[in-house]
């Protein structure tokens, strides 16, 4: 009976939403390489943590794969030249988030073969934990799922803790995006190699790959590439947003809840994204840096929608031109539609954490109703949607009164990871998650002053 109950609990977390996924336009499109742009814009801070320090000068020639900015401390990763060319400037350039950020601009040599010259091959199996962590840091890897947290920090087991399970996140729960899906289908060997390295580094005894059940073909591809002695299992989970949030995925796969304010490692689990581990499997033995990634380009009326492999630093404008997107598009989003950022400028580059580029024509795609805000009618849809089991309605009222401190002290504001489910379902069009972002920022500022 208890076992039955456990079975029922497995594969799902409570709450969440079912948006329209719109994945059919790109899920069948094999990964293609995009042409190299004439100019790359490479920010030095593409990860969470300290920005890397530039080690090249204006006018200097750089080779594809060469380090152009060094990691600044442990909570930082280096940046490699995504293409062979010459550094034309180092300065502030537009970013997706809004403020301009320090970036290295490279004019790409047209005649170059773009062969990766740099590399420092090793056999990862022969190294110990600390050396491996250094090696991972040297690849410049940061989570390719979107948050861009440095991978070596995620893989390092803090002192006094042990990891028993590695969870590999192949959910890709954001609508429109299919790049992880394609990576799982086309590069299962690289992915499994990355999982084996991650198991070796973390000391975890087993790995579970969690994939939403709308990507069963990806699960089959990975299973087919498994070796008999791999301690790796592949499990399907319900297709529901935000299944790919690590706390939700752990609940679905293992039935465990990460304690409030804690990390998965607190309960002995390390989580990594499939795209990240597939890159790790490729780069770690060669000792190369992360210089390119797969990006899903799609939206409304995009004729050449698909999954494109492109150098880090490729400007959005170049991608749109290459794919013949010339119509009047009003909104351009980096990432998915639920958590991605709409761009203030088309001169923003693709970075390590960019999984999608979405273009939309009319503003009406937000919904047919426009954006009139009505008072909260206490319909409780946000309460029933919040995967963290917060009370968005109540926090919304408090935010309206600017009682930001109370939101944090009494209503767990800091447990909100901004998935946007509350704003998605709100029939009054109240910008709930937007309120919460502001509240968090104000609280951070207040604490900084105190």
């Amino acid at each position: 009976m208890l076992a039955l109950f456990e079975k029922f609990r497995k594969g799902r977390f409570s709450h969440g939403i079912h948006p329209r996924y719109h994945k059919d336009a790109t899920r069948g499109k094999a990964i293609q390489r995009l042409a190299f742009p004439p100019r790359l814009i490479v920010p030095v801070a593409q990860h969470i943590g300290a920005p890397a320090k530039p080690v090249v000068n204006v006018g200097q020639e750089v080779l594809r794969g060469q380090i152009i900015a060094e990691a600044d401390g442990f909570l930082s990763v280096p940046v490699h030249a995504p293409a062979t060319g010459v550094v034309s400037s180092i300065g502030l350039m537009p970013s997706a988030a809004g403020p301009k950020v320090l970036s290295i601009v490279i004019e790409v040599y047209k005649a170059s073969s773009q062969y990766v010259l740099y590399g420092n091959p090793v056999e990862p199996e022969t190294l110990d934990h600390d050396e491996l962590i250094q090696r991972v840091q040297a690849t410049g890897m940061a989570g390719l799922g979107g948050a861009a947290f440095p991978s070596h920090v995620k893989l390092r087991i803090p002192h006094g803790k042990t990891a028993h399970t590695l969870v590999v996140n192949g959910c890709e729960c954001e609508p429109y995006l299919t790049c992880d899906h394609r990576v799982m289908l086309e590069q299962p060997a690289d992915l499994l190699q990355g999982i084996r390295y991650a198991l070796h580094i973390t000391g975890a005894k087993r790995a579970i790959v969690g994939i939403e059940d709308n990507k069963a073909d990806a699960a089959e591809a990975i299973k087919a590439a498994l070796k008999p002695d791999d301690p790796i299992t592949v499990e399907l989970v319900e297709t529901k947003y935000p299944q790919g949030a690590e706390k939700m995925l752990l609940k679905s796969l293992l039935g465990v809840e990460v304690p409030e304010g804690g990390l998965p490692i607190d309960i002995g689990i390390v989580v990594n994204n499939v795209g990240t581990l597939a890159q790790l499997g490729k780069l770690l033995p060669k000792g190369e840096g992360l210089i390119e990634r797969v990006v899903t380009v799609t939206g409304t009326n995009v004729a050449k929608a698909g999954n494109y492999l492109m150098p880090i630093g490729t400007p959005v404008r170049f991608i749109l031109e290459q794919l013949g997107i010339t119509a009047d598009h009003e909104k351009v989003i980096l990432g998915g539609p639920m958590m991605g950022m709409s761009l203030p400028s088309l001169d923003v580059p693709i970075t390590k954490g960019t999984s999608g580029l979405l273009v939309f024509q009319e503003r009406t795609f937000i919904g047919e109703q426009g954006e009139t805000v009505f008072p909260c009618i206490k319909c409780s849809r946000c309460v029933d949607a919040c995967p963290m089991h917060l009370n968005p309605a109540q926090m919304g009222w408090l935010a309206g009164k600017r009682h930001y401190a109370e939101m944090e002290s009494d209503f767990h504001l800091n447990s909100c990871f901004e998935c946007g489910c509350c704003s998605f379902v709100c029939p009054s069009n109240i910008p709930l998650v937007q309120y919460f972002r502001i509240a968090k920022a104000v609280n951070r500022e207040q604490k900084g002053k105190a």
């Binding site: 031109e321 539609p337 937000i366 309460v383 447990s415 998605f424």
Partner: protein, 347 residues
């Protein structure tokens, strides 16, 4: 990319296409069959009654918009719902001028003083009804027999009472027009004051006297199901009310079947079905969490039976819902959702 401008917007960039006016509009759709049945049952008096209360509610809403120098909020349909619901809870021959008073009072003191849609504590339709229950206690308990002859050509005499006048005595008229077997008394008052029970089938289908729109329990259930299926109504609220009513009246019935009505009669008589499906489930006045909804529903069910069996009124759902509305803020503070990953209190 020749566009003159780019639209900036913070995430999420997609939205579920169901806003407040959409939900409210569908509630109106769900109420229309009930209105149609009420008109079929009681004739043009009810048709005009619905029109009068709805216009009174809309007019009051618009007046307060104008007073507060705010844009019109009529297009959110919520006052239309209040107007229709109010008419459905009134006796079919209720004087029209009193109905207008009920509509004005419901919106003015039930909704506008709190700040309009979303801010009201109580269900505006029920506030309107409670107002006239206190103001005109006789008129609101004067019932008209169902299916009386000539209902599509003439008004119930009391309907057309001049403003600020008391309605005429209708007992004589009732004797003239009543079809065999239909008296003006409602099943609940028959049971309470004369100990006469009504055939269950008549109760389910609405072949009885009562307020304009409360008589056919089955029709109300079907219309409510429409909203449940469209995910525009929380089915748990009526479900818990039914449980509360069934359990409370079941216990009483087991103690003394002579004195107290059985649970089935309790569930299908009076305004319970209409109140549970369309008024208690009003989102604004009900709690947020499933646990809170359970307490709220059970409380309303329990109070309804208590008032019906022990109070001086034959019907109790109205005050039960108003009390449930009043308790909602308290219930909400008690039943905050349990945070995902919350640490157990180390006490």
């Amino acid at each position: 990319m020749s566009k003159k401008h780019i639209v900036l917007h913070t995430a999420p960039h997609v939205k579920k296409p169901q806003d407040v006016p959409t939900i409210m509009r569908h509630v109106v759709y769900a109420l229309l069959p009930i209105v149609a049945f009420a008109v079929y049952q009681f004739g043009i008096s009810v048709l005009v009654l619905v029109i009068v209360t709805t216009l009174a509610c809309l007019g009051t809403e618009r007046f307060f918009n104008w007073m507060g120098n705010k844009p019109s909020s009529l297009s959110d349909w919520s006052s239309t719902i209040s107007g229709i619901l109010l008419a459905l809870t009134l006796p079919p021959g209720f004087p029209l001028w009193m109905a207008a008073v009920a509509g004005i009072a419901g919106i003015a003191i039930g909704k506008a003083v709190f700040g309009g849609i979303g801010y009201n504590v109580f269900n505006p339709a029920l506030v309107g009804r409670a107002f006239v229950q206190a103001a005109f206690p006789v008129a609101i308990t004067t019932w008209t027999p169902a299916f009386f002859t000539g209902r599509f050509s003439e008004f119930v005499p009391s309907s057309l009472t001049l403003p600020f006048m008391m309605p005429p005595e209708t007992a004589e008229w009732v004797k003239q027009v009543a079809v065999d077997g239909f008296t003006g008394a409602t099943p609940l008052s028959l049971h309470k004051f004369q100990h006469i029970s009504t055939a269950p089938f008549d109760l389910y289908t609405g072949m009885v006297a009562g307020s304009a729109g409360e008589t056919s329990a089955l029709l109300i259930l079907v219309c409510g199901m429409y909203l449940v299926i469209r995910k525009m109504m929380n089915w748990q609220i009526p479900a818990w009310i039914f449980v509360g009513v069934a359990v409370t009246s079941g216990v009483l019935y087991l103690i003394n079947p002579e004195k107290f009505a059985d649970p089935v009669f309790m569930l299908f008589s009076g305004g319970l079905m209409l109140g549970a499906m369309f008024m208690a489930s009003d989102m604004v006045g009900s709690p947020l969490t499933p646990k809170g909804v359970m307490i709220y529903g059970l409380l309303i069910g329990f109070l309804t039976v208590l008032i019906r069996q022990f109070g001086s009124l034959s019907e109790g759902i109205m005050y039960a819902i108003l009390l449930g509305n009043a308790a909602t803020p308290l219930i909400d503070t008690w039943t905050q959702p349990r945070l995902f990953g919350a640490r157990r209190k180390s006490a």
